[in-house]
């Protein structure tokens, strides 16, 4: 291997499945300096190489896996990598983030960016053993669930890490995800894109090393950030013990926990679900991702009752919500079982739970003839939840419609259900009701991949912030807050560390980690990093605008604008979206249609000819 840039694997691996062509190219200097890695790389490559109008499940779509410079290093929580493609669920930009150990292994094989194009004639898996790369026949494992797939490939290739799809990805279900070593590239249907390319899995074993620019400075920076994380109130004391559901009680108390498809204020047994009962009845072990001291993940086991013996990794806060309160269900065992099944089939658990809750409301309102489902699908029916997850995973019965996502389901069910199909741009809403923290409403409406809580996370600032400048129920300062977060989170998604490290550290500490690792002058300045973050967010915006998106897509479901919150703490609030959106476009330097102006593009160094005016 040639002299490697510190912090980077050094290579771009491009695989054309139609031609069985495999090429390894050095990673370009300009790409590093301008876009850093991860989401940054994805934004540049996807904008340049995927023209508008491509069908997401056609062989013309591209799917990327990108590491950040910090991925696979000594930096705390440096487990993360990014999947990017055009989403078959939304038809727009997708980037999906994953922890665990797959990204780091790709990095140890020297790969910063994996580009997959075309479509294989028969099922294959990609095998990467350092520079020894090949496409292997996968007909004998096609149809395997993700656990069987990973087990089989681990046996064949000891020590390797696997990213794979399950039956749902193979069946091109739009909410199918990619599973990788127990974690997921969850949202937006990346699994269906791999399925459409006949690519069952990526198997990687890397034995190369990652070099460091300044050994002493980097190790010092790592020591400081580890120490800081161990002291932080966020990552110490609560998250390691209670998992990602450590926020459950506070979110519920603040009136931000959505119940029964965002319309309920309570459900039977709801006092049985919180971070304490999860710890007491489910959690067995703490699991970490690569290089992580927080260990938020859990190995859980159901010890009694109807679901005795059920195991799984999780449940995460989002899945506790999506199969719990979203469906009016208080049976913790069933929640773990549902999450296990999503992992088994390879389904996005947020979208799956959201659409099941939607179906339950449709059933309650008698919008679906009883025999079309085949069983009672009332809110709170845990048997129905489990059956529906299986039907979605197998693409059976009404599961086929639900697997297309809640927007499409509402389109077909009709009867006014469009008003309570909880999605933005086709991506299902996660576990925060923005009527209780309206900044999240703006975050959902302006997220580049559809309703997402990970582009800007304003909930804590709005509710816990003690400076009293922000009120969770009003529009003031939300535009500014959302923009700042989106730009910074674009950097986080480009450098390869976990969002939970961000909550315990400050931006200067993260800048120092990046700079001492890479030695790149541009990365020593937080101000410069923030402009790169702004550039990345504008580029994904332009990608979407090129697909035809305008202001009329920056919306929220009818329920959040027109129906008052049912929670006491939210004081009958609705989301003042228009007001926040106007201010947001202004702060962003976008025109009234939400399209970046020429002036803004010039300022950021973006040359997007289609938009010059």
């Amino acid at each position: 291997m040639s002299e490697k840039r510190p912090g980077y694997g050094g290579y771009v691996l491009e695989v054309d499945l139609s031609k069985s062509d495999i090429t390894l190219q050095p990673l370009a200097e300009e790409l590093i300096k301008e876009y850093i890695g991860g989401k940054g790389f994805a934004s540049k490559i996807m904008y340049d190489e995927l023209p508008s109008g491509i069908e997401p499940l056609s062989s013309d779509n591209i799917i990327l896996f990108a590491n950040g410079p910090l991925t696979g290093t000594l930096a705390p929580t440096s487990a993360r990598s990014v999947l990017s493609t055009k989403s078959p669920l939304t038809g727009i930009w997708l980037d999906s983030n994953c922890g665990g150990s797959f990204g780091p292994e790709l990095k140890f094989a020297g790969i910063d960016l994996l580009k997959i194009k075309g479509k294989a004639k028969t099922p294959k898996y990609l095998l990467i053993e350092d520079t020894d790369i090949s496409l292997i026949d996968a007909v004998d494992i096609w149809g395997f669930d993700t656990f069987e797939t990973q087990r089989t490939l681990h046996q064949r290739h000891p020590g390797a890490k696997v990213a794979c799809i399950g039956p749902s990805g193979e069946k091109l279900i739009p909410i199918a995800c990619v599973q990788a070593e127990g974690r997921s590239y969850g949202r937006g249907g990346g699994g269906a894109v791999l399925g459409s390319k006949n690519l069952k899995a990526i198997v990687v074993k890397g034995s190369e090393g990652i070099s460091v620019y300044d050994y002493n400075a980097f190790i010092k920076s790592c020591r400081e950030t580890f120490g800081e994380l161990m002291l932080s109130s966020d990552s110490n004391g609560s998250r390691p013990i209670y998992g990602t559901s450590c926020i459950y009680s506070f979110i519920q108390e603040a009136g931000v926990l959505p119940i029964q498809n965002f319309k309920g204020s309570s459900f039977p047994g709801m006092e049985r679900i919180n971070e304490h009962s999860l710890l007491e009845t489910l959690y067995e072990e703490n699991r970490s991702c690569f290089a992580c001291p927080i260990a938020c993940s859990k190995y859980s086991l159901v010890k009694g009752g109807k679901y005795k013996g059920v195991i799984g990794e999780g449940p995460e806060y989002e899945n506790v919500w999506s199969f719990g309160p979203q469906c009016g269900n208080s049976n913790l065992g069933s929640i773990l079982r549902a999450e296990y099944l999503c992992d088994y089939y390879g389904l996005d658990a947020i979208s799956t739970g959201n659409v099941i809750g939607f179906l339950m409301e449709c059933y309650e309102k008698k919008l679906i003839p009883g025999n079309e489902i085949g069983f009672n699908a009332n809110f709170g029916n845990d048997d129905a939840i489990i059956k529906l997850v299986q039907m979605i995973g197998e693409k059976e019965g009404i599961g086929e419609l639900l697997g297309k996502g809640v927007a499409q389901a509402a389109n077909e069910i009709k009867g006014g259900s469009e008003k309570f199909a909880m999605h933005v741009k086709g991506l299902e809403l996660p576990a925060y009701d923005p009527r209780g923290a309206v900044g999240m409403g703006l975050a959902y409406a302006t997220s580049d991949r559809g309703a997402c809580h990970l582009r800007a996370y304003t909930v804590s600032s709005e509710i816990l912030d003690s400076t009293a400048r922000l009120d969770p129920l009003t529009a003031e300062y939300k535009a500014e807050l959302v923009k700042i977060e989106q730009d910074w989170f674009s950097i986080l998604d480009s450098i390869g560390i976990c969002i939970f490290a961000n909550f315990g550290l400050n931006q200067n500490q993260l800048t120092k980690l990046l700079h001492t690792l890479t030695g790149i002058k541009e990365f020593s300045s937080l101000a410069k990093l923030l402009t790169i973050g702004e550039k990345i967010y504008n580029l994904t915006r332009l990608f979407n605008c090129r697909e035809g998106l305008k202001r009329d897509s920056d919306t929220l479901p009818y329920r959040l604008i027109e129906e008052e919150s049912p929670h006491i703490s939210a004081r009958n609030n609705t989301v003042p979206l228009d007001e926040m959106l106007n201010e947001y476009y202004f702060i962003r330097g976008w025109n009234k249609e939400g399209i970046p102006t020429s002036q803004k593009m010039n300022e950021l160094g973006l040359k997007c000819h289609e938009f010059e005016n």
């Binding site: 034995s207 190369e208 190790i219 067995e284 072990e285 290089a291 260990a295 195991i311 799984g312």
Partner: protein, 130 residues
């Protein structure tokens, strides 16, 4: 010698990361003298030489001088005469030994520095009695 309490381990692999970083100034976990083996969805365990006094590995080694006790009273590998048969790993009562390039790796506690103990966030790794 290095001690390990599996009950405390969360599988973060920081021991792997710092081992290679400390030894070679690069991050190359596969070259580390301590290796994590996962057991998803449960947490797995780490393999490493405990530098035990039993030293069955030396007895099992078919070569005369591939494995020996060095001046720090630790088992050490002579890479020149090792035939990579891995009988030492096979006989090890604690499990398997990490292997790199076919050679078994014998943890030497970074000659008393115990880097992995410093970086283990859960204290699963600790210093044993000398």
């Amino acid at each position: 010698m290095l001690k390990y309490d599996k009950e405390l381990c969360s599988g973060c692999r920081l021991c792997e990361i710092i081992c290679s970083f400390n030894r070679f100034q690069i991050i190359a976990p596969r070259q580390s003298f301590i290796q994590y083996v996962d057991n998803w969805p449960q947490v797995g365990f780490v393999d490493f030489c405990r530098q035990c006094k039993g030293r069955k590995c030396i007895d099992a080694c078919p070569q005369d001088d591939a494995l020996f006790v060095n001046e720090h009273s630790m088992v050490e590998l002579n890479y020149a005469t090792c035939t990579k048969c891995l009988e030492c790993s096979e006989i090890c009562p604690f499990g398997e030994l990490p292997v790199n390039g076919g050679y078994p790796l014998f943890c030497d506690t970074c000659t008393g520095e115990y880097s992995c103990v410093e970086w283990c966030p859960t204290r699963a790794l600790s210093r044993g009695d000398e």
